[in-house]
Symmetry: C2
């Protein structure tokens, strides 16, 4: 967990905010599955809701149904399964709608207040049976400590849970934002990403909730890449119960700024953990590009570096092959003077400058190896042209990435 602006991190994930409960269950979406694969999140009141979705032209059926259900910016429950993406299936929409209806019936709420999401293999038929058999049980087992069971249920090739929550004050009222997400491969979010469910008790208008989600998503999830593949099922949702009873946020006030910072603290950590848990990864790569003449330049260069398969393989081997960094900077589709660029590699073990003015400088290969042998590697690129900064997160490329993806369907 990376501290941000002194926010107090607490347990509870999606259940940290007042009003929210959750549950998870093994619904055998895949016949041989032994782990939880279906989750329910519920709020005791109708929530204001915002969401972002994948920009892939192929979109899972749950994306289509959720978009319809959120057209009024309200929701009260989330039903989500792993093990099957319900994408490119002839009757996918029908299945997604039925899942919402079953959830609505169990919770006694309208079906169009249910968000539905799926993740897993694309293009395999999904039966409604696991939903019929398990949604009533999920509804009965909802609890304020159900976040762990729910978080496990959304994992696919993820090796660990990803959930964070913060507590903070707004006008003397205690507020919370918490969330969970999944995602390990097919990660190159473009708008929303993977599956992420965020909850809060802050009172905030639908417009400002949407604005905050877009702004924070742009600098968190959208700055993560594991393999450059943008999923068909990416979705991040943000639900607000309003239970904190703060004066409603309806404009870009100081309270909005605090809310946004708290949301950043949660989403940045979820995004970082997604990169760290990239399929087969042994190391988190963080690339910060600074002193760019504008933000898009900084962002494009940072993402180009984080996406380089050659650099990712070198980082796996703790090899300070900085020529691959320069190469990836060089093919980024952005405008800057390569002759001004400097590059530093750092980690808990120290920092070393490997390139100045676009050319190599002498450095100790042994020390660089020590730096790159840590499990969080920071690459700092100084464009020396302006004052804009961007950070992107990725991971190394390993034998296990190939293994996981050569065997995923079987």
């Amino acid at each position: 967990m990376l501290q941000y602006k002194n926010f107090k991190f607490i347990d509870g994930g999606v259940c940290a905010a007042a009003g929210f409960t959750a549950a998870g269950i093994n619904a055998r979406i895949k016949p041989n599955s032994t782990k939880n694969d279906m989750a329910l999140i519920y709020c005791d009141t109708k929530c204001t809701a915002a969401a972002l979705y994948t920009q892939n032209k192929v979109q899972g059926a749950p994306i289509t149904v959720t978009k319809q259900h959120l057209s009024d910016h309200t929701a009260q429950a989330v039903i989500v399964n792993s093990g099957n993406a319900n994408t490119c299936n002839p009757n996918g929409i029908e299945i997604a709608q039925q899942a919402c209806e079953l959830t609505a019936k169990a919770l006694n709420i309208p079906a169009d207040d249910v968000i539905v999401a799926s993740t897993g293999v694309i293009g395999q038929k999904l039966s409604i049976a696991p939903f019929e058999q398990n949604i009533p049980t999920l509804a009965k087992t909802l609890s304020s400590t159900g976040n762990n069971e729910a978080c496990t249920a959304i994992m696919t090739t993820d090796t660990r849970q990803k959930q964070f929550a913060v507590e903070f004050q707004l006008d003397g009222k205690t507020c919370h934002i918490g969330g969970m997400s999944k995602g390990s491969g097919m990660i190159n979010p473009n708008m929303a990403t993977m599956l992420a469910f965020i909850t809060t008790d802050v009172k905030i208008s639908a417009a400002m909730l949407d604005k905050a989600l877009r702004e924070v998503n742009a600098v968190t999830y959208n700055m993560v890449s594991v393999d450059g593949d943008t999923s068909t099922n990416d979705m991040v949702t943000l639900l607000s119960s309003g239970h904190a009873e703060n004066p409603e946020i309806t404009a870009e006030t100081d309270f909005y700024a605090i809310f946004k910072d708290a949301l950043y603290a949660v989403m940045m950590n979820l995004a970082r953990e997604t990169a760290r848990d990239g399929e087969g990864a042994t190391k988190l790569m963080e690339c910060t590009v600074k002193n760019a003449h504008d933000y898009p330049t900084a962002k494009t260069v940072a993402k180009s570096v984080i996406n380089s398969a050659l650099l990712k393989a070198a980082i796996f081997a703790a090899d300070a092959n900085w020529g691959r960094i320069l190469c990836a900077i060089g093919y980024a589709e952005a405008s800057f003077d390569i002759a001004k660029v400097s590059v530093e590699l750092s980690s808990k073990a120290g920092a070393v400058t490997v390139c100045e003015n676009g050319s190599g400088v002498d450095f100790s290969e042994d020390f660089a190896y020590k730096i790159l042998s840590e499990d969080e590697i920071v690459i700092t690129i100084n464009l020396n042209e302006g004052s804009s900064t961007a950070t992107a997160w990725g991971c190394d490329l390993t034998y296990d990435y190939v293994k996981i993806n050569a065997e995923y369907r079987s």
Copy 2:
């Protein structure tokens, strides 16, 4: 070798065209190197020359020097080394110029008629000593069968030679085009690519030579990707001796069309072999997108599919995970109706349709596995919207790609 329009393929590579000789030598660019790493190509007359270069902002010193030397569209020799890219070195330009001067002196030609190219690790100092010690010997050993020694000398992580030549008639005159290239990783050409040296004896104006190279390059090298990394040293050159004594090609005549087809036969095969020999690759992936409403759409979709790390890993495992193909089609930055798309997988073992109208169709997984177990896999995507076609080439993603790139510098 893939036959094209009945062109007669012959041996000889860069020496197939009249006037050209070549040589290769182990110059110990890397101290422990035991293979050829320096090559010389020479023509007995001053040639008309065309070239294309990497679009990476980081460009090797040899690129800068070669651009200067080709400003008059003539050249008579090529000096090239592997083992060191001579890129991001403070004195790189000086070394590249000296290599040209040494070559010029040994051949008694002007230094600005020498093309210089380097490939290998970026950002490591390159000494002039190996050039001083070996260029005189290279000049003395030039021969019309030296293409093999030269072709070996430009290989880095390549596992096999890549050279092709064709013989054809123009106005009753026997003509030749031959070429060699290297490239295995850091392959995502953008303009020119890797190193490729093509020679011909066809009489053709500098303008038409340049035009033919650009047009054919766009549909051959620029349609290859191994890992999405665009190298700093990509260069393809085309030299014409004019010895065939055909009436000079100076416009888009029928003879130009034949010349371009012959050039395509050579460059398409070099490009295909580059993809097949991608680092760690066990399979050639060919993706043809047809019935697109325009060529850019077909091209963008084909390259998106060929670049998907997830699909490449699935192909390695002979897993018909067509959802990953749909996904990569879906995130291609192009405009088309995903609901009209169909996908077919084929190889020597047969063909199977896996997707129609954007949704999965039933197919035999066993038969699909058999198809994907061959070493040349064809993915045919029908957009069902127009009449444009594009083909891109790539390879599977394997444990060995990681291994090669985790260990490349050591």
